[in-house]
Symmetry: D2
Subunit: 486 residues, 4 copies
Amino acid sequence: MNAENFGSSERLVAAAYVRQGAQGRRGHELLLRALLEQGKCPEDGWDESTIELFLHELAIMDSNNFLGNCGVGEREGRVASGLVARRHYRLIHGIGRSGDISAVQPKAAGSSLLNKLTNSVVLDIIKLAGVQTVTNCFVVPMATGMSLTLCFLTLRHKRPKAKYIIWPRIDQKSCFKSMITAGFEPVVIENVLEGDELRTDIEAVEAKIKALGAENILCVHSTTSCFAPRVPDRLEELAVICANYDIPHIVNNAYGVQSSKCMHLIQQGARVGRIDAFVQSLDKNFMVPVGGAIIAGFDASFIQEISKMYPGRASASPSLDVLITLLSLGASGYKQLLKERKEMFSYLSSGLKKLANTYSERLLDTPHNPISLAMSLKNLDENNDVAVTQLGSMLFTRQVSGARVVPCGTVQTVNNYTFKGFMSHSNNYPCAYLNAASAIGIKKRDVDVFLKRLDKCLKTCRKEGNKEKSVNEICDSNTGTEQLAN
Amino acid sequence: MNAENFGSSERLVAAAYVRQGAQGRRGHELLLRALLEQGKCPEDGWDESTIELFLHELAIMDSNNFLGNCGVGEREGRVASGLVARRHYRLIHGIGRSGDISAVQPKAAGSSLLNKLTNSVVLDIIKLAGVQTVTNCFVVPMATGMSLTLCFLTLRHKRPKAKYIIWPRIDQKSCFKSMITAGFEPVVIENVLEGDELRTDIEAVEAKIKALGAENILCVHSTTSCFAPRVPDRLEELAVICANYDIPHIVNNAYGVQSSKCMHLIQQGARVGRIDAFVQSLDKNFMVPVGGAIIAGFDASFIQEISKMYPGRASASPSLDVLITLLSLGASGYKQLLKERKEMFSYLSSGLKKLANTYSERLLDTPHNPISLAMSLKNLDENNDVAVTQLGSMLFTRQVSGARVVPCGTVQTVNNYTFKGFMSHSNNYPCAYLNAASAIGIKKRDVDVFLKRLDKCLKTCRKEGNKEKSVNEICDSNTGTEQLAN
Amino acid sequence: MNAENFGSSERLVAAAYVRQGAQGRRGHELLLRALLEQGKCPEDGWDESTIELFLHELAIMDSNNFLGNCGVGEREGRVASGLVARRHYRLIHGIGRSGDISAVQPKAAGSSLLNKLTNSVVLDIIKLAGVQTVTNCFVVPMATGMSLTLCFLTLRHKRPKAKYIIWPRIDQKSCFKSMITAGFEPVVIENVLEGDELRTDIEAVEAKIKALGAENILCVHSTTSCFAPRVPDRLEELAVICANYDIPHIVNNAYGVQSSKCMHLIQQGARVGRIDAFVQSLDKNFMVPVGGAIIAGFDASFIQEISKMYPGRASASPSLDVLITLLSLGASGYKQLLKERKEMFSYLSSGLKKLANTYSERLLDTPHNPISLAMSLKNLDENNDVAVTQLGSMLFTRQVSGARVVPCGTVQTVNNYTFKGFMSHSNNYPCAYLNAASAIGIKKRDVDVFLKRLDKCLKTCRKEGNKEKSVNEICDSNTGTEQLAN
Amino acid sequence: MNAENFGSSERLVAAAYVRQGAQGRRGHELLLRALLEQGKCPEDGWDESTIELFLHELAIMDSNNFLGNCGVGEREGRVASGLVARRHYRLIHGIGRSGDISAVQPKAAGSSLLNKLTNSVVLDIIKLAGVQTVTNCFVVPMATGMSLTLCFLTLRHKRPKAKYIIWPRIDQKSCFKSMITAGFEPVVIENVLEGDELRTDIEAVEAKIKALGAENILCVHSTTSCFAPRVPDRLEELAVICANYDIPHIVNNAYGVQSSKCMHLIQQGARVGRIDAFVQSLDKNFMVPVGGAIIAGFDASFIQEISKMYPGRASASPSLDVLITLLSLGASGYKQLLKERKEMFSYLSSGLKKLANTYSERLLDTPHNPISLAMSLKNLDENNDVAVTQLGSMLFTRQVSGARVVPCGTVQTVNNYTFKGFMSHSNNYPCAYLNAASAIGIKKRDVDVFLKRLDKCLKTCRKEGNKEKSVNEICDSNTGTEQLAN
């Protein structure tokens, strides 16, 4: 409804009421205006009505929704199924152009606005979450692993001689594969045990750099968020080394946006040393469907280089999801989620500690890990070899998802590299254990139910103790390898 | 409603009517059954009601929709926004696992089924479209360019020494960039002019292979669908050369599924020679939003290698879109679309020919190109240099999308490579021209309106002939580079 | 997006593209403008995108969607369930006010516009369908029967002495009950048999009026659309009688809008005599869900009196449905549906005739009924009493809906009135028969499948001929009474 | 997915995961089961996913969604617009049959179930809300006024001689019109002033009954929920009188379900005397769109008589809305809403009291009204006659909805009856006042914002005190009559 249409409406409905209606519209428009002008996540979340209006407005700016459009190209944003058109709010042209995933599309002003706004709002949230000096970022419709690959492929053009990536070990397949896929040789730096924690071996990193020659190293590939008892890498020290040796530094911050500690590490690393890009998952940090990541950094032109490395257009779906989500939460809603997560972490921690004591196990002491906890499974492991993996299976069939049982001594070969003690980030971690995490969106009910079911399972395991398992109805999901993939 | 629930319903509504209702449900279930058992695109399309029921059924098989689930992992499929949850039918876990984008997820049986079925149905359609001997394929949530990159990255591991990719020139940035991004050096093979057509220079390809040494060549990267006057590459001859020299062969079949000719070329190439993989866009062939591609091939294990090369999970959104679309069209609906496209191609062709004659131009004679047409712009070009690009701008502002104006002699540098005559696939094509295509989903109205508007624009251009343009309100979109990106 | 917001967008996306987007928006706005100014059904249907935009625009004019609203009344348009809010496009306030169902609500300018526009568009369609001189109408969220009741209740205030309603018999319960519910005594006028047709007994009507005294008669209540072999009432003659005796005349035009013949009768009746109001079903004429009707007439003030008789607000749901439907069809789409219906009537007629002959039955000759057909079931009836009703049951369980089997001699008591030969509109129609209709939206497939299934059922009945039915698995739905209720 | 389909799925996805998925489905099915078997509102609300699954299941039991259906009737549930089909979840056949709005439809087992379950769940909630001995009820797609009319029309058949309805005055147009529309003569019983409260004049009621003769009285029509300073009628005393004189008693409980006091009055009235039916609005009590009501009572057969009085089918839309709402809230959610409303009533009450004092006005002392409050506007009224209505206008334009300003001495004629002091339920209430209510769904923010805006308006009014109003831009909505219609 524009001014003329409101005018025409007064023929049908009293002018005073139409004016009131126009005033009502104005309220929604002002929210849009603020977003367009400031490019920031609104402090208070928008209601669904405003969000839908906004998306509708964007959609009708795209040529596929022009009533008078005629299309004679090979890609016209036509949609065969109404179900599909609707679920994308008729935003069909995706994002980016052949030259740059962040570029504007002439045919699709609305989708282009969506893309720009999403990147801008996400940048705002990254600052709010703790990395205040970030200068540029973009959403890419690929998960964290493939996004890391894209970073490595971009660096290749800047360091044509480089073959190696220095990688403090983290037992998560897609991190490892991101380097393999990019065509580089990972140089695994084993972690060191400090108390119960597994931490970055800074000296080994530096020694390896010297040994291989800085120019032969594509980058250091470090990690923040990870399963306990590993803890986030010592980013400050790594960043200083990277600065000293003039080596790029890419940080896998997969689910670190939700933790002020992880974000603080990145901010500090960039302040005292060198961080070229940090990559985070959309789904793990923003409660959207799997399939997107944010590539961010402190040097805007390098981040743009990465975005130009993506050949062709891309799906707007992850951008749309995260934009809808952040608009509906608002900055305050997102901060509230972060706060609740932190509280649930304490709650889970104390609950798990209590439970561990009951079974003569202990909650491993991993104060540097802000998200994941580990409880030893020593007794279970010693009495019965099968039991540890069986516990995983038992939890799975009882609808506990995300708990991860790590036996000792699993050996796994990934792309021809052999990892001893796989899943535990270490060749020989002292004990088997179970992981549980407090991730964004977790509810008190999750923790309570988990502790109750775990208690029951442990009780059952203890009883079955030395009995022989005749019928071993264990699904694939309870093997160590399986649980890793969570 | 299961049997028990139907039973309970008989307390409220006469048994005979409930039975009739249960019978009605049965009809939908049988469709699902056939899909699950045969894995083929149903001959007749499903109605929306059945599709939504099906997606709903899949969704409640995923753990995030279990009523009793408790989650203590770092990725639990939680969704913050109801809008987002609904638009994905609550299928949140994406597809694949860290090991393989085609793998099954324990947490998400429904999403896993979706993924398997999509790939299976898409395979069926590729056969139906003309490549009968294809053995494996998968949908990947990346557009064509990035999917080609993934193929090249996979080949790297098989051919560690290779540096070059042999590439018969096609002036489309993302094709070119797909090789650069993967870290390889494109070896551009200029096309030869045969009549009006630009065709593959087979001899130059073979000469280049000999010159560089087969082992140094990663693959031949050929193209089917393209803008006239270029025509699909001579796939048979290229495939034979690849077989002879034991060089992999990757085909960019971007929007070729819609053309039986392009599909036939691939089928023939594979029959007489070697084709390792062919890649096609989802949006350009199946009328879904931008952002997905299909990687297909004749050696199932190689295709699986590619799918294992993708590090981590991925968005299910493109898979969901194409599955919904194919189920709603049915095989018969898709065939009907192909038929209509072909008819519209003839209609556009004869209309354009007539119009060209009126303006003393001609429709270029490009019988090997089944999708794109080109009409010369000789007079316009000779009289007035600005006019050719201005025509592009005029069409754009008149809501003609996809028409592409190609002036002579544009020079463009892409990733340090300089292309003369960019956009025309040739260093010096004899004349400027305008492209129009008959792509899937085109309607008679598109053609009619296009011809009418083009007529008006040409008339205006002729009148303005040698007049000076004082106010040159030409938007960016009318430069050659711009139109290229279509 | 208003002008300012488009301006702000140019910071993010090139001005030329934003202008193009704004131009795109303009296209939709112009459609809205035309609707608001002319109040007519657009010739061409709108696409879903425009309709949704329109509804969204209306919704944000209602106070419950004002971002800054605070509510301290007892009815504030709050909605507890998001599912409910969405399915009503957040239009919550319903239509009308306590004074008048057509009145404007101060709190809800958008809903008020919706109401006005719906009535205006519907009026346009009634003219288009053949009653050109209609002057006023309104949609009421009650089905035909209750809407007739409302008409009678309104007349009561104008004719306080009247007790009787003259009613040419039509065997449809809700017509009869509409009079009973209003508190009047129906005076049933039996139809006369002319050939196979049952037609209005004009002389009996006039005689009855004289007998009872015009001032004691509330109105004549006639019917157009009905099941063959009854045909539409002789409206012209009845209208003349009403004019002569100064008696109101209410026409039940339940599903007559779809037939130019029925509409023509009304137009003629009003021209030569008196018709006070005619009532038609929304669902039966406009393919929307059950639950709404249109009350229309030639004297605007009388129609307004009826609308003022409805005490309080009412559901906007039927208005919303019919408005969406007519906007999406457009006048041309609706005319196309009428045309197809007519064609299918011929097709059904000839198919049924052929089938009847095969079984030595005949298609009754009812040329004045433009919608419903009847095929005799003489043989079936004579050989086996059960068979006629069993045929109904057989068709029902074979998913033939709407076929209606009428045995001879059913006696039914409705609100203390006893009808002989119930369902057949006559005390003793010569034979049993089966009805089938060609109603709006019917497809060729419906007719083909129906004829095929009917053929099979008749074959089975013939075979089973004189056999005893031991297991009579006949559901309730096959009794005469049941089928009546269709 | 039935058992066979799960079986087929195991070909594609590991059996253990499919079993887990089937288990997940089971969770939803059990909820449906409980609903079908108990017919009660579930204690805990269902999530959207379960509700949508349930509605989808119902829909496919209706013949219009049978894949193999062929329709040759005049009402086949065809839908022209996809938007319409979807917003009704493809439940198109409405509710009821020509014989009874509560009856089952053979063609539509799903819609029939919906209807039965809605009535059953609503009955459960009425009990929960305080009328434990209610025995029957049904949802009718008409607002309160028309539903009352239906009750009166039903009574007519039981009391053919009756002409009058005894009606303790309540100044709400649709209550009054409900009697007029039904064709009866309202006998207005003026209220008596007790302190600030206006209460039922029991003696006058009895006197009037004696004067008119019980057999000439159709019923007593009393009211619970109303604007202060009127308070709910003395139901117990009225019920006893009705029992003594054998006169039916219909209670207008428009928005009384939300108040335990109103419900208690009904329960008590039925216990000690006679209440035949009580009618309540859906939108006002259950936060759904306008347009439905519940007719409930203690004698199941009388309620059924009313449901049989409705001629023909009816819209299922209000039933669908209330069912979705109650399933999503659950009994606990509804109770929570009731609790919050009560708390907000106290909060509003004390806030308004404080504000009144500031302006030397007072909160009227109306302890028997549990929902509505009144604050005197004595000073405003005395100083300036226009000011009182202007205050209404000011609040309206400041987006305060539902506040109701009542000046002294308004005279209004409704259907030829003249009311002195209209809006105030009294010929001469001592002062002007402003109403505000705490209705279900009200939030603390509503109250806070209201008090703040009211404060500002009163301040402005005071200042403008005796100034002349030159430009009186008062919209229609601020007149007394207007505000009444809330």
